[in-house]
């Protein structure tokens, strides 16, 4: 494999040699995993060959590399003509239009799919991921801290509501701020010792923390129900009106004089997550233009410069970390209330990885990008089993590719939210 740039006019032989080298190396890598497989047969492992799959891999590598090289060369020879992308006002108009239409679509969705539980349910799941993505975006996209155990705070929120409601009879709205505060507290306790150190340590400590929370929830049976989880979590009510055919006090359909329909609750849950997500969005948008948010972005760009300007970097990091944790806590409360049942199964590392993939794919710092990436991530597995199986494989590969091609993320807005003299200081 040669990294040297092959110019567009280079002879075909050179390209063929390059593709051949990739095929040989890739074929060697693939041989023990794709070409051979160990399967259990009669209680013992045996080796089976899959030369067909291996051959297909070789062919894919060879032609894929040829095409990729050709495409790259074509792109490279075109590039000098391209102007450096400058953050233009037209771009902002486009973003605004896209945002507004997405919001309108989100608000009108139940009107068109009022009887389709599947669509409403999927959209609610999407809402949860959007909210989680936005929360993690504060930590990763704005402050530039890699949090690999984000799901732990989500779990803290979910279990807080589950325990407070089943043990002490707290309602959804009472538990919401408590859970957010508790998640933020966990964030501060975890972040304080680690955030003083180099950024990489935070990644591994959060990774460990995510596992620890899961292990504790799994083993501390008297507290969390262990692997059986907690069931019978009360659903949120509409200002005290329950969504049921009949209940103590008035129910939603009686109060509004409607025919009872189980869909009311799903639509209510959907609007609830939309409202929570919008509140999250409003909070983040405001924070971004406040000194706190500006400090986050400054920190992401250059930590040493921040210190030189007199910012207490630990406090700034901690505020971002705690804000992200709090938002995850809110999302967790909603998740518990919607499912009615939670167990440690829902809070594994792959969940953290999914949320991180949403943020990275969407573009760190971009609110709109998170929505689009979350939509791809939630809808893709619904299309079929093979999509669900290959989902994480593709995301892992996409994360590597995106970092190599455009380290700021696909729809990145790494542009500082505020800048001095916008005309002169186009991106360096």
């Amino acid at each position: 494999m040669t990294a040297a740039v092959i110019s567009a006019s280079s002879p075909l032989a050179l390209r063929l040699r390059d593709a051949l080298a990739v095929t040989v190396l890739g074929g060697l890598l693939a041989l023990p995993f794709i070409g051979l497989v160990t399967v259990e047969e009669g209680g013992a492992l045996t080796v089976r060959t899959r030369w067909g799959a291996w051959g297909a891999t070789l062919a894919a590598l060879f032609f894929g590399r040829l095409l990729l090289r050709a495409a790259l060369d074509a792109w490279r020879s075109r590039r000098p003509a391209r102007k450096r992308a400058v953050f233009s006002s037209g771009d902002a108009v486009l973003r605004r239009a896209a945002g507004t239409s997405l919001l309108a679509a989100a608000l009108l969705l139940p009107v068109f799919f009022a009887d389709n539980r599947y669509v409403i349910d999927t959209a609610t799941t999407l809402g949860i991921y959007v909210m989680l993505g936005w929360g993690l975006n504060v930590v990763v996209g704005l402050a530039g801290l890699l949090d690999l155990g984000y799901v732990a705070f989500y779990a803290v929120g979910a279990y807080t509501y589950a325990l407070l409601s089943t043990q002490f009879g707290w309602s959804f709205w009472e538990a919401l701020p408590a859970a957010g505060a508790l998640a933020a507290l966990f964030g501060i306790l975890l972040g304080y010792p680690v955030l003083r150190l180099r950024g990489d340590y935070l990644a591994i400590v959060t990774l460990g923390f995510g596992e620890i929370i899961r292990i504790v929830l799994l083993n501390w049976t008297s507290f969390s129900g262990g692997p059986n989880g907690i069931g019978g979590i009360p659903r949120p009510s509409f200002f005290g009106l329950a969504f049921a055919r009949s209940a103590e006090g008035r129910t939603f359909h009686e109060f509004f004089g409607l025919e009872f329909s189980p869909m009311h609750r799903f639509i209510f849950l959907y609007y609830l997550i939309v409202v929570l997500a919008l509140l999250t969005h409003a909070l983040i948008s405001r924070l971004r233009v406040l000194p706190t948010g500006r400090a986050w972005e400054a920190l992401r760009e250059d930590e040493i410069a921040c210190k030189a300007l007199g910012l207490n970097t630990t406090t700034v990091k901690l505020s971002a970390f705690a804000t992200g944790a709090m938002l995850a806590g809110f999302a967790g409360v909603f998740f518990a209330a919607r499912q009615g049942f939670i167990s440690p199964e829902s809070f594994t590392f792959s969940e953290s990885a999914t949320i991180l993939a949403i943020v990275v794919l969407g573009g760190m710092g971009s609110q709109l990008g998170v929505v689009l990436a979350a939509a791809v991530l939630v809808v893709l597995p619904e299309l079929g089993r093979q999509f669900a199986d290959y989902r994480m494989l593709v995301f892992g590969a996409a994360m590597v590719t995106i970092m190599a091609v455009k380290p700021t993320g696909l729809l990145a807005r790494r542009e500082p939210t505020v800048r001095l003299n916008p005309e002169r200081s186009a991106a360096p």
């Binding site: 060697l28 890598l29 180099r198 990885a353 892992g396 590597v400």
Partner: protein, 304 residues
Amino acid sequence: MGYALQQLINGLTLGAMYGLIAIGYTMVYGIIGMINFAHGEIYMIGAFLSVLTYVLCTALGIGPTPLVLLAMLFVSVAFTALYGWAVERIAYRPLRGAPRLAPLISAIGMSIFLQNYVQLTQGARIKSVPPLWQGGVTLWSADDFRVTFGWAQLTVVVVTLIVMAGFAWMITRTSFGRQQRACEQDPKMAALLGIDVDRTISLTFILGAALAAVAGMMAVLQYGVIDFSIGFIAGIKAFTAAVLGGIGSIPGAMLGGLLIGLVEAFWSAYLSPEYKDVATFSILVLVLLFRPTGLLGKPDVEKV
């Protein structure tokens, strides 16, 4: 007394494995200043290759145990080293000089990719192989309790000692070792003096992967049960070992691995096996809190 001795032996075996993996973390951190999150998966790949070779040997009727062991070692090290090289080439080399966060995300992406790749190609079920040999040396026996140093455990410790001695010799005595240390101290200056820094970094990844492959093979010998997700927890623990010993320090990684192995063995034996991962992790946080440079590390000086 006997029980404690047995735990000491178990802890040593476990620690030898963690130490081997931790060296990979510490060397990569030393030379390019990043955590190679995919290193745990490299260890997992090494273990899978060992199982594959073992099963192949059985199928082909290659009998004597030492020959099988050598074949496992050779195949696993060779292919895993190739994987280590490829990971560096694909996920890290394009990102030299990129923003701080980019290589970390690329690394975690690589880790997710490799884990799912092995799960999809080899299946999600656990793979178990029968133990290569049973029995061992009985060190101490009383009433109904015997302290044994199993043959597999003995192999793990002896092989680890040999590999580490050879590795230490390579780093301190050979020309590659000098180049490697030079790149660690100052890559720019090393490049000016004619050292091929990219090649040295590649070799560092290859070496780290080779050591992880040895650890993977040891895991197969010792436990005989693996699946696609073993790299995750082993990776966190080996990283903790590297931090405990002082990240960037190779003797530190060995020492850290040994300590983590011992803590885990004794914690499982005397306190609670369910929370053994919690114990390791608490060590990580405590070390970061009170002695971020680890036991043998040098303070990390940040330059503008």
